[in-house]
């Protein structure tokens, strides 16, 4: 039974990363209509940012949680202004290829300087140790990751679904020309949205650093699963990507317990099933 709970927890943790990453992808897809394949590389940059902050200037994990998303977010906004802007309105394939190329370049650069093995990043002192819940032992850091990710996901959902800024975003997703004709600077909003989505990826990177180490290819491994999550949840759906992210993490964890051989493929089997039954995803709108 202990093993089942342990796998469930691992599932929830992975689910947190899936949710944060697919949420960013959903926000970016909704607004820019771009399938951001660079997302995994930007997640990796978030983790590296935390590593540099600690090893070069001694800024702790808590600072990294704030600074890394901002730094990587700004990097993303520069990317949008200099590269992605030019392919707006073109076929999805162009955005896919461009961001895929960006991901390869970023990963290549980091690999060149840091190799493929992981750099250690210690769990902050405040979150060390564990708690005995009676039925299982919960490492505090892991519990923190799940709860903090959930809070960030819900805050993002609230921002988009319940605020005025979110209403601009949703409206601009439908009809950017008209929203601009109401006096809203839509190009600037697109840049900020990309920055927000990328910032979420970087945040996930910081959260993951103490668990998974900091590696140039940490995002490349993850992003494939995240894309499956996005496809299952439905492209562009905010709540869909959060719920699907956590749910698939748990399903993966359960599979690891009951039938470990299938744990790496269960998400993709799920994706195929969903695509067969509901091609727009569980909560998605038609593209």
């Amino acid at each position: 039974m202990q093993a089942l709970y342990a796998q469930l927890l691992v599932g929830l943790i992975n689910g947190s990363f899936y949710a944060l990453l697919s949420l960013g992808l959903a926000v970016i897809f909704g607004m820019l209509n771009i399938i951001n394949f660079a997302h995994g590389a930007l997640y990796m940059m978030g983790a590296f940012c935390a590593y540099f902050l600690l090893s070069l200037i001694g800024l702790s994990y808590w600072w990294a949680l704030i600074i890394a998303p901002i730094v990587v977010g700004i990097f993303g906004m520069i990317l949008e202004r200099t590269l992605l802007k030019w392919i707006a309105g073109l076929d999805h394939l162009y955005g896919f290829l461009l961001t895929f190329g960006v991901a390869l370049i970023l990963q290549g650069v980091f690999q060149n300087y840091f190799g493929s093995s992981g750099l250690p990043y210690a769990i902050p002192d405040e979150l060390r140790g564990g708690m005995n819940l009676g039925f299982m032992f919960l490492p505090i850091y892991r519990g923190w990751v799940v709860i903090f990710s959930l809070i960030v996901c819900i805050a993002t959902w609230f921002l988009i679904e319940k605020t005025r800024l979110g209403a601009y975003l949703r409206a601009a997703t439908e009809n950017p020309t008209l929203v601009r004709a109401f006096g809203i600077n839509v190009p600037r909003m697109i840049t900020l949205t990309y920055g927000l989505g990328v910032g979420l990826a970087a945040l996930a990177g910081v959260l993951s650093a103490p668990i998974n180490q900091v590696r140039p290819l940490m995002g490349a491994d993850l992003i494939i699963v995240v894309f499956a999550v996005v496809v299952i949840g439905g492209m562009g759906s905010i709540m869909g990507s959060i719920v699907t992210g956590f749910a698939l993490g748990v399903i993966e964890g359960l599979t690891k317990y009951f039938y470990p051989e299938a744990s790496n493929t269960v998400v993709f089997v799920f994706m195929v099933l969903v695509l067969l039954v509901k091609p727009t995803g569980l909560t998605g709108r038609a593209a």
Partner: protein, 249 residues
């Protein structure tokens, strides 16, 4: 056709102050040249209607003024400033509000969100929400509905209502009566008359000239991307034959 400067044609309004001066406005959709030199003026407090057949360039004229059409040349003066090169968000913030033909109600927003979406561009100029609900009582009861769940008439009212609270005093309405029942058309007519009384300046595009005749002060006829004639409401009766020829009705 005699070349006259249509901007000055309706002499009755010559004394009033123009808010909008359009001179030699040309516009393109991709390769196709749609507007071939549009000239007209709109004075403060007037309701001016662009009449013309389908495809004459009326909608394109509005979109060019709004800055939505990518390639445009000539001159558009608004409130004394040249806006031909300005982006549409800047034009909107100068006080031009646009209600598109397809209404542009957002499906992912509820009625309230649709209503308050356009940001306030000029303080103290716009109607309050209470004044808007006074004009369109239906909307108040449906604030929580999804925008696109409204009837066609309600959507049109929402599309007009949302540009009234921004403080923009110059409204461009593109075929507000299209596809609506006569009783709704009448209600929209009353609304436009009321807005004129409140001091709004309105540039209207219409195919339904019977409707336009109930609200407009002046008319311009658009054909093949040019203004070919213009007259005031009082000259309407004596120009009826010409009008029938222009519009083919």
């Amino acid at each position: 056709m005699p070349e006259v400067n249509m901007a000055q044609a309706p002499a009755a309004m010559a004394a009033a102050k123009p808010v909008l001066n359009v001179r030699n406005l040309e516009a393109w959709y991709g390769e196709s040249h749609i507007l071939h030199g549009i000239d007209f003026d709109v004075n403060a407090g007037e309701v001016v209607t662009l009449l013309g057949r389908n495809g004459a360039g009326k909608t394109t004229t509005l979109k060019s003024i709004m800055g939505i059409i990518g390639k445009r040349t000539g001159s558009v003066g608004f409130g004394g400033k040249e806006i031909i090169r300005a982006s549409s968000d800047r034009i909107a913030r100068m006080g031009v509000a646009f209600c598109p033909e397809e209404r542009g109600i957002f499906a992912s927003l509820d009625v309230r969100e649709n209503l308050v979406l356009p940001p306030v561009v000029k303080r103290n100029g716009g109607l309050t929400l209470d004044q808007i609900f006074d004009l369109f009582p239906n909307l108040k009861e449906r604030l929580k509905s999804q925008g696109t769940k409204l009837s066609g008439g309600e959507q049109q009212m929402l599309a007009i209502a949302r540009i009234l609270r921004t403080g923009a005093s110059f409204l461009m309405l593109d075929e507000p009566t299209e596809g609506l029942a006569p009783v709704i058309i009448q209600q929209i007519g009353h609304t436009i008359a009321r807005l004129k009384k409140e001091g709004f300046t309105i540039l209207l595009v219409e195919q339904n000239f019977r409707f336009a005749a109930t609200v407009a002060d002046r008319y311009y006829i658009v054909e093949h991307g040019k203004i070919i004639d213009g007259f005031t409401n009082s000259e309407l009766q004596s120009n009826m034959d010409k009008l029938h020829t222009y519009l083919g009705v």
